[in-house]
């Protein structure tokens, strides 16, 4: 049904999504916590920056990434010189692009959950001797877990569909950075490729449905645990 190259794209998509969620989520949690719970001078700037990938067309985001993380870019040079890491045109780069694109939504979902928490429970934890980080890990985050889950699901789904930033930053290299959306794009660029595109879209959709079902199950368990 699918060609080996397309299977490879499926595998790659899942890998990219996994990496993007895996690396993006912790950072998103920290950012959401900073935005929800602290008041520091640079807060509005951080808030605006977080939303940037949403506000700019994906191609522009990809282009900015290229400029920042490219081999000639300021961060890219550092990474390469110090760690020998190269992001552009690699799977890692595709994951980065994808993580950046979903970052705003992850942060918003987690922040929404954090801001909806009952402050009384954290007060209770304090009175029981739990310090800031302790509280964060034992009370705040578990209670915000439905928001974290939503962040992860949305990020996963977005990675299945993210195209502009990935192709611009990481190029469209089969087996390396050609994820499903890029393959779909490629198919659409070819006269008569609609059937192929539709087929790949269906694959993408199937992956999404599987992810969604899992997340619904998990979400229901989380909510039950939290007594809702």
């Amino acid at each position: 049904m699918l060609s080996p190259e397309e299977w490879e794209a499926v595998r790659l998509t899942l890998e990219v999504a996994a990496r993007a969620v895996g690396f993006g989520l912790p950072l998103a949690i920290v950012t959401a916590w900073l935005l929800a719970r602290t008041r520091f001078p640079g807060r509005p700037v951080l808030n605006a920056l977080v939303h940037l990938p949403l506000v700019l067309p994906p191609v522009v985001t990809g282009w900015l990434l290229l400029i920042l993380f490219g081999v000639r870019g300021p961060i890219g040079t550092l990474l390469f010189d110090w760690f020998g890491i190269r992001l552009v045109f690699t799977t890692a780069g595709a994951s980065l692009a994808c993580a950046v694109m979903t970052f705003p939504v992850m942060v918003r979902a987690i922040r929404l959950s954090l801001e909806g928490l009952d402050p009384g429970l954290e007060q209770a934890a304090r009175s029981l001797g739990a310090g800031r980080l302790d509280r964060l890990f034992t009370v705040t985050l578990p209670l915000a877990s439905p928001g974290i889950l939503v962040g992860a699901v949305v990020a996963y789904a977005t990675c299945l569909g993210e195209f502009g930033a990935v192709i611009t930053f990481a190029a469209n290299i089969p087996g390396e950075t050609q994820t499903l959306p890029l393959a779909i794009y490629a198919a659409l660029q070819v006269p008569g490729g609609e059937a192929k595109a539709a087929q790949l879209s269906l694959v993408s959709f199937t992956l999404a449905v599987i992810g969604l079902l899992l997340s619904e199950l998990l979400g229901r368990r989380l909510n039950r645990r939290l007594g809702r």
Binding site: G70, V71, R72, V88, T168, Q178, Q189, G192
Partner: protein
């Protein structure tokens, strides 16, 4: 690695498979918009060969000394055609001052690539100006992101007519060619190929030579391209 304009996807894949059959290692192909590819090469992308859909992005790289200038050649050409939906077949005699108004109807739009940046759109603008209908038509354009999108608009009957490449029109079942723009109405449609400076290997040059060779030509012709 070959960086090629997305419209060349199928043709280049076919050529590559023949090339592999001849015992060469498989080239990696990355398809995207010419602009994206050019910027990536500028940022140090590991491309050996660049196949652009228009001259200006090739010039862009040449100006930045990123291209082995001696290898640049315009291997392929294409026709610019006027298409109409297949279920409203008609024939248009394309000559100076022909009646676009009646072709488009009261509020129909002419679908074509965005003349500010899409090559096919730029050629179409040249042609329409030459034919003296540009001023009449330009308020009624549906500027698409690329040729494929323009074609889709005609296929779906959203636009009663569109200007696309002959290669696209040939494959689509939803449209029929109503007329071909005479070659003298616009600059020749060309696809410049070149080896990049950074990726200037004998292997790359050999592949470029192969692309100019008879086996490749046969494939290109089969796909509807004009070859030199």
């Amino acid at each position: 690695t070959v960086f090629a304009a997305a419209s060349l996807t199928d043709a280049l894949k076919d050529v590559a498979s023949v090339w592999v059959k001849q015992g060469h290692p498989a080239p990696r192909l990355s398809f995207a918009a010419s602009s994206t590819l050019a910027r990536q090469i500028e940022q140090g992308a590991p491309a050996n060969l660049f196949a652009s859909a228009d001259e200006k992005w090739m010039n862009y790289l040449v100006d930045r000394h990123l291209i082995a200038a001696d290898t640049r050649r315009s291997l392929l050409g294409n026709d610019l055609v006027l298409v109409v939906p297949a279920n409203h077949p008609r024939h248009v005699d394309i000559r100076p001052g022909f009646d676009f108004a009646s072709l488009l109807g009261r509020d129909g739009r002419l679908a074509m690539g965005d003349p500010t940046h899409v090559p096919a759109g730029i050629y179409a603008e040249q042609a329409l100006k030459k034919l003296g209908v540009w001023n009449a038509v330009s308020p009624h354009l549906a500027r698409a992101e690329d040729v494929r999108a323009a074609l889709l608009l005609v296929e779906r009957g959203e636009a009663p007519a569109g200007i696309v490449y002959g290669t696209d029109a040939a494959v689509s079942k939803g449209v029929m060619v109503a007329g071909i723009f005479p070659a003298d109405t616009h600059d020749p449609v060309t696809y410049p190929f070149a080896v990049t400076k950074a990726g200037d290997t004998p292997e790359a040059r050999a592949l470029l030579a192969f692309l100019a060779g008879p086996e490749a030509r046969a494939i290109f012709v089969k796909r509807g391209f004009k070859v030199e």
